[in-house]
Subunit: 179 residues, 2 copies
Amino acid sequence: VEIILIAAISLDGCITRHGEHGTAWTSAADEEHFRRQLAGFDAHVFGSGTYDAERSRIRGALTTARRRVVMTRSPARYAGEELAGALEFTDEPVEAIADRLRADGHRRLAVLGGNVAYRAFLASRLLDEVVLTLEPRVFGMGTRLAGDAIAIDASLRLTEVTHLDESTLLLRYRMPGSA
Amino acid sequence: VEIILIAAISLDGCITRHGEHGTAWTSAADEEHFRRQLAGFDAHVFGSGTYDAERSRIRGALTTARRRVVMTRSPARYAGEELAGALEFTDEPVEAIADRLRADGHRRLAVLGGNVAYRAFLASRLLDEVVLTLEPRVFGMGTRLAGDAIAIDASLRLTEVTHLDESTLLLRYRMPGSA
């Protein structure tokens, strides 16, 4: 399974503006790009914070054509919300999630955040690509792409630079060890 | 005086790798670009951490053609190290520094870090440009471009995207309100 991290970040590495939840601060160009891009994945993984904040939107769009895996320390809290093949809640490490999706024949997994999910995949050797929307913003305070809790030292290879609009860039990076 | 912030950052907004001091982690392409670029400025401002770490290199290159302003909370600690017109130590706010350099006829001021100096200028309305070397690295932990202490909300305008090497980008942004 190809595993691709997708994030919108400010110039100073924030994925949220200050203490706000979510990505309401991103450009219209990024929102459009993000929706278009997601269609190319048969699985999404994200944290329970994202699920909690967008529960009704997510539940309204459930389909076995696009499996949703929610990372949480408390899967029991979501008992009864699962839908076989479409929505699941897990406290497994990312390696186990990837193994299971691979075994089930999934081909492309999008890692959609927040910072706990991003960090777990960035710290693993599982990622194939990192796709960043670099917004022309500076926030000073905000949630960081890879949190602030563990040291990572990854060198990536830039494969694509595209203007989403005048000042917003789409940057695609290949992780080392990926084909 | 035109005021231009120059920094090398990782994809997750770090200006240092983990707890290391300095920018030894940056690419050879950035080092070359950085030296070439600095020649175009008649004044540099940076924090005392940078001065302390590179004291002999800085003192070995002093010239009145390129005035160095060191931001410190304790100018008295550097008594006797000043050199008129070439090196000074100040606890003034950035507005006063800019006014003084303007009055003295300086035309281009480079803001070279660390995060305290970057933050003070980013939070002011003084900056004309932000020039970032975006290195293809992820560190998880490290000093942040604009620290983590005050909320900023700046929207910039992208004016230049250049490859310094295969995976390192030079990004030039204009601050709002600048011509």
